[in-house]
Symmetry: C2
C-alpha cells in the first residue's frame, strides 16, 4: 500500500492515520522516544523527566457550545501531557490567521486561552503569530506545544494487562456530536455541548492516590474505538466493552441515530479512558464521582487475554458480541 495524495482520512485519527505515521513519518523520524507514539514524548535526560508534546487545532466552527478553538488548544495540550503522567508546566502557542480576521474574535480566543491556562496553572512562555493572505487559510489555526514534569511513571499504551478493567470518566462523543451539529446546522430538542475540558483535576487525584494505572488516554480524534485499538495493538491484548455500560447522553444518541454514526468513533475532548487492575476500579470510580466532570464515570469493560491478532469486542444491548470496528475514513474533518 502506498499513499499518493494525502486525504482527509490520513488526518482522521483512525487506521489511515496510523498507517501514515507507521509507514511514512517513522520512516524518516524514527528514534526511541518518538517511536513510543504516546500523546507526549517522555524526555529522560540528565536534568529530569519531562513530557513534551505538540498539537494543531483547526476546529470549525471556532466558537461552539462548551468552548472555542482557544480553550480547546490549551486543554488539548494539557490533556496530552496529563495522560502520560505529567503535571503541565509551560505552554507555547502558535497562531496562523487569515488576513482580515476580526480582532474581537481573536481577543475572545486570547481570553479563553488565558483563563484556561490560569485555571490549570500552566504558563504561556512563548508564542508566534503568522498572518496569511485572505483565502489561503480558513480563519484561524492554532498549534500549541507543552512541557510537563512527569509525576506518575509507567503509564503506557503498551502496558495493558489481562484482567484490567476499562473505565471512562464520562459520557462519550459529546465534542464530536456538538461540532458536527453546529457546523451542519442540525438542531435537537436538548442542545449538544462539547465536553472540552482539562483532565488535570481528575488526573491529579488519581496520581496522588497511589492507584496503579496501566494506561490512560483522552479519546480525541478517532474516539473511543481508536484509543482501544491503539491499546490493543500496542499491548497485544483483546479488549471487551459492553454497550449497556458505556455512558452516552440521550442527545448524542439521538444525533448518532439520525446521522448513522456510532458514538465510539466520535471524539471527546474532556474524557479520560483508563486501564487499571480490577482491585483499583472502585477507588477510581469513587475519585471520579466526587468531581462534577467525573459524575457519569463507568466501568465499561475489561482486558481479555494476550493475542497476536488483537481485537476489540463489543457486547451489544442484545447480549451478542461483535468486533467493534476501528475508526477509519474521515467523517469528521476539522473536528478539533
Amino acid at each position: 500500500m502506498k499513499i499518493d495524495k494525502l486525504l482527509l482520512s490520513h488526518g482522521g485519527g483512525g487506521e489511515e492515520t496510523y498507517f501514515l505515521i507507521k509507514e511514512y513519518i517513522l520512516k524518516y523520524f524514527s528514534n526511541p522516544i518518538l517511536n513510543q507514539l504516546e500523546d507526549s514524548a517522555i524526555l529522560t535526560d540528565s536534568f529530569s523527566e519531562l513530557a513534551f508534546t505538540i498539537d494543531g487545532f483547526t476546529v470549525k466552527p471556532i466558537f461552539f457550545k462548551g468552548g472555542n478553538i482557544g480553550k480547546l488548544a490549551v486543554t488539548g495540550t494539557i490533556n496530552d501531557l496529563v495522560v502520560v503522567g505529567a503535571r503541565p508546566l509551560y505552554l507555547t502557542v502558535g497562531f496562523i490567521i487569515e488576513e482580515g480576521f476580526l480582532m474581537e474574535d481573536f481577543e475572545k480566543i486570547l481570553k479563553s486561552i488565558k483563563e484556561e491556562a490560569e485555571k490549570n496553572k500552566i504558563f504561556i512562555v512563548a508564542g508566534d503569530t503568522k498572518i496569511v493572505p485572505k483565502k489561503e487559510i480558513d480563519g484561524i489555526f492554532i498549534t500549541t506545544s507543552g512541557i510537563g514534569k512527569i509525576v506518575y511513571k509507567g503509564i503506557s499504551c503498551s502496558n495493558l494487562k489481562p484482567g484490567d478493567v476499562i473505565i471512562v470518566s464520562g459520557s462519550i462523543g459529546d465534542h464530536g456530536a456538538c461540532i458536527l451539529a453546529e457546523r451542519e446546522g442540525i438542531k435537537f430538542d436538548i442542545e449538544l455541548q462539547s465536553d472540552c475540558e482539562s483532565l488535570l483535576p481528575l488526573a491529579e487525584e488519581l496520581f496522588n492516590s497511589k492507584i496503579e494505572i496501566h494506561a490512560m488516554r483522552d479519546p480525541t480524534r478517532g474516539g473511543l474505538a481508536a484509543t482501544l485499538y491503539e491499546w490493543a495493538y500496542s499491548s497485544q491484548v483483546n479488549i471487551i466493552i459492553e454497550e449497556a455500560l458505556i455512558p452516552v447522553k440521550p442527545q448524542v444518541k439521538a444525533f448518532c441515530e439520525a446521522l448513522g454514526f456510532e458514538p465510539y468513533h466520535l471524539p471527546c475532548e474532556g474524557r479520560m479512558v483508563l486501564s487499571v487492575p480490577e482491585k483499583f476500579a472502585e477507588k477510581v470510580l469513587e475519585i471520579f464521582k466526587n468531581h462534577p466532570s467525573g459524575s457519569s464515570a463507568q466501568i465499561i469493560g475489561k482486558v481479555l487475554e494476550k493475542s497476536s491478532f488483537p481485537q476489540v469486542i463489543l457486547k451489544t444491548l442484545y447480549g451478542t458480541e461483535r468486533v467493534l470496528e476501528n475508526t477509519s475514513g474521515e467523517l469528521f474533518p476539522r473536528i478539533c
Copy 2:
C-alpha cells in the same frame, strides 16, 4: 490605537507586530517569562535551565533555491534556541496540510526535516498531522516547537552596552529576495538563493570561546532593521550602522533596486547579528571567517549612547547620516 481586523502587517515582524504583541497578546498572557520577548523562553526551574520556543512556517513557494519549508521549519526553531544561548535538544513538528497534497512533496519535506535534524543532533520526539479540506488552507503549514539546554547565559535584547560593536555573520536579505523573486517569477542573471541554514555550528564556537556576547539574533521577519530596533528599544540605546560595511550580495542589491526595497527590511534565515564588546570583535570575525557560512562576516556598526528615544542611524555611502526606518507594513507575507 485599536486593531479591528488583523492585517498582513500584524504578522510582518515590524512595528505593527510589536504593537499587536505589546497591546493585545501581553494584555492577556503577561508573565515574567513571556514578557522577555526573546526568541525562546528561558525556563529556570528546579530541574535545569531550558529554552522553549515555537514558530509557524507558511512560506510560499514551499520549495525554493537553498531549501524548502521543512528545512526552514527545523533551522528556524534551532536558530531561535541558539540565539538565546541554548544547545537544541528536542523538536516537535505539527503539520497542517491541504487534502490532496502530493505525498511525493510531503516526503521531500519529511526528508529535509530528517536530514536537518540529524545534522544538528536534535531529536524529533513528537508530532501531529492535521489534514483540512481542499481550499481551507493553501498547501502545507508547519509549526515546530523546540527545547534546548542553556549553555551560555546572559544573552538578551536588553543587554546592549554603549561601545559594543554590531557584527553580522554574512550577507543580508538573501532569503527574502529569493522567496519574493521565485513567487513573482522574477529572474536575474545570477540566481538568488536563500541563506536558510542552522546557526548552531557558528554559535557553538562562539559559546566555547569565552567571548562576551551581549545580544544575538537571527534577523528573520522584519530583517536587520527590526532586529536592531528591537535591541535599541529594549536596551534604550542608539545604534549606528554603516551602509558601506553591510554585506549585500550583488544579485540581492539588484533585486532591491529593481523593486524599490531596502535590504535592511528583507528577512534572513541563516544569519546572526551580534552585539559584543569591541575587544572581542576581532575574535568573533576570526571564528566566523573560519566557517564557509561566516566567510562574509562584517563589523557593521556600533552601539552609541543610552537614549530614552532610541534610534538606529544609517551612515550612507555618501557619508551622510539618516534614521534607518524600522520595518513596517507587510511587504512580504508568507516569506517564512
